[in-house]
């Protein structure tokens, strides 16, 4: 009960907050966390592989803006599978660095992540030959397969007339002897209204963003291509409340027999501005 009470306290005590999240679940945009801000996020994916059990994969994320050009993020992962078990599946730590200090037509961001997971079903990225067989084993069997991996991404992002277009190129290496695996993700989105309203509002159009997201695997170093890879596409939408809480939802569809037919993704995020100032005596609150 204590963690819930703590969350309620944080949500109720924190004053007006900023958040302008893109409605993406897998794709990263080039936009960084503002320096000093801490964003708490929870992203979930639910689906049922053919012949398997309904699963619910989840991440809790802590995203911190170290500087205006460097964002660091820590994840805790878990999953629950119907007729099986609920388990903690591991952690990830990622860093994103923006090498160019100004806004360009295409803005690159370099991403590096270390993850230590097993039996993960949160589907935060799809690489290599990830697909339905990964979701068929029982948790007790699947968690024996430890995935200590390093993941690199090249994130490219553009903003044009209110549209955001983001592309990710993914390379992942299991730190054992497995080959490099590759994947991709891209997404577009736009607020439903570009200008802000003169009055304070909760459900006005500029608080909603809608878009489309697609991602999938590209095989590995020995078998690069689309053979035995899974791919997903789906519309996505989010809404940001005046207090900075963002709710996101996306139904996604597997594009071939190697993909899970339907995924339902939803997330909630909350940004605490200038997080460290809450620990400074007489700080700027």
């Amino acid at each position: 009960m204590k963690p819930i009470a703590l969350l309620v306290a944080v949500f109720s005590l924190t004053p007006l907050l900023a958040a302008q999240e893109r409605p993406y679940f897998v794709t990263y945009s080039h936009e960084m966390e503002e320096p000093g801000n801490l964003e708490l996020e929870m992203f979930n994916a639910a689906g049922r592989p053919p012949g398997g059990n309904l699963f619910f994969g989840s991440n809790i994320e802590f995203e911190y803006g170290v500087t205006a050009w460097w964002t660091s993020e820590f994840y805790l992962d878990g999953q629950s599978t119907l007729n099986d078990s609920t388990i903690f599946t591991g952690f990830r730590w990622e860093n994103r660095v923006r090498p160019l200090m100004r806004e360009h037509w295409i803005n690159p961001v370099l991403y590096a992540e270390f993850e230590d997971t097993s039996a993960d079903k949160a589907l935060r990225e799809v690489v290599g030959h990830d697909g339905v067989p990964d979701f068929s084993d029982r948790n007790a069997v699947a968690r024996r397969d430890k995935e200590r991996e390093m993941e690199l991404k090249l994130i490219l992002g553009s903003n044009y007339r209110g549209w955001n277009i983001s592309e990710n190129i993914i390379a992942e290496k299991n730190l054992s002897n497995d080959p490099w695996e590759f994947g991709y993700a891209w997404a577009v989105s736009r607020p439903l209204r570009l200008a802000a309203s003169a009055h304070k509002c909760t459900f006005c159009a500029e608080r909603f963003q809608a878009g489309l997201e697609m991602y999938g695997g590209l095989g590995d170093r020995h078998s690069f291509g689309l053979n035995q890879t899974s791919h997903y596409v789906g519309p996505s939408i989010n809404w940001t409340a005046p207090n900075g809480t963002t709710l996101s939802f996306s139904p996604q569809f597997g594009l071939n027999d190697y993909s899970i037919p339907h995924l339902y993704r939803f997330g909630v995020s909350y940004e605490i501005e200038q997080f460290l100032s809450y620990f400074h005596r007489g700080g700027d609150r």
């Binding site: 302008q20 050009w69 100004r102 806004e103 700027d284």
Partner: protein, 124 residues
């Protein structure tokens, strides 16, 4: 080498102070400098800009743009008089990342101009 470190630190401090003093304005291209605010003179844009400001900027720059311990006031002569709306638009779009000012390109262009409408209205 050790004797050069204080000089190097002094140089870095002067460089940082220069950036905080608005040296970013020297980097604004002429075409951006000359941009005009499409919401110029619209009172609803000022009100909308204040809402956006409160939501995204006030935590660092103060609720009334008076500045905070670590971040500059936006009621300064530099922002109010010397910087054109186009200069401020360029700054919001690109940020001054080495000095801690993030890019606000994530906000749609009309909202950036609305914030500028609000900022330019403060002294009136």
């Amino acid at each position: 080498m050790m004797r050069r470190i204080p000089l190097l630190l002094l140089f870095c401090a002067l460089l940082a102070r220069g950036a905080a003093d608005g040296s970013w304005m020297a980097h604004v291209p002429a075409k951006d400098h000359d941009k005009t605010n499409p919401f110029q003179g619209q009172t609803t844009a000022i009100e909308a800009g204040r809402n956006v400001f409160l939501e995204h900027c006030a935590k660092c720059h103060g609720e009334n743009a008076q500045g905070t311990k670590k971040r500059p006031a936006l009621r300064s002569e530099r922002v109010q008089q010397r910087a054109t709306p186009g200069d401020l638009h360029w700054l919001l779009l690109n940020g001054n990342m080495k000095k801690g000012m993030p890019s606000w390109a994530k906000l749609p262009d009309p909202q950036l101009w609305q914030v500028i409408s609000y900022l330019k209205s403060i002294h009136e």
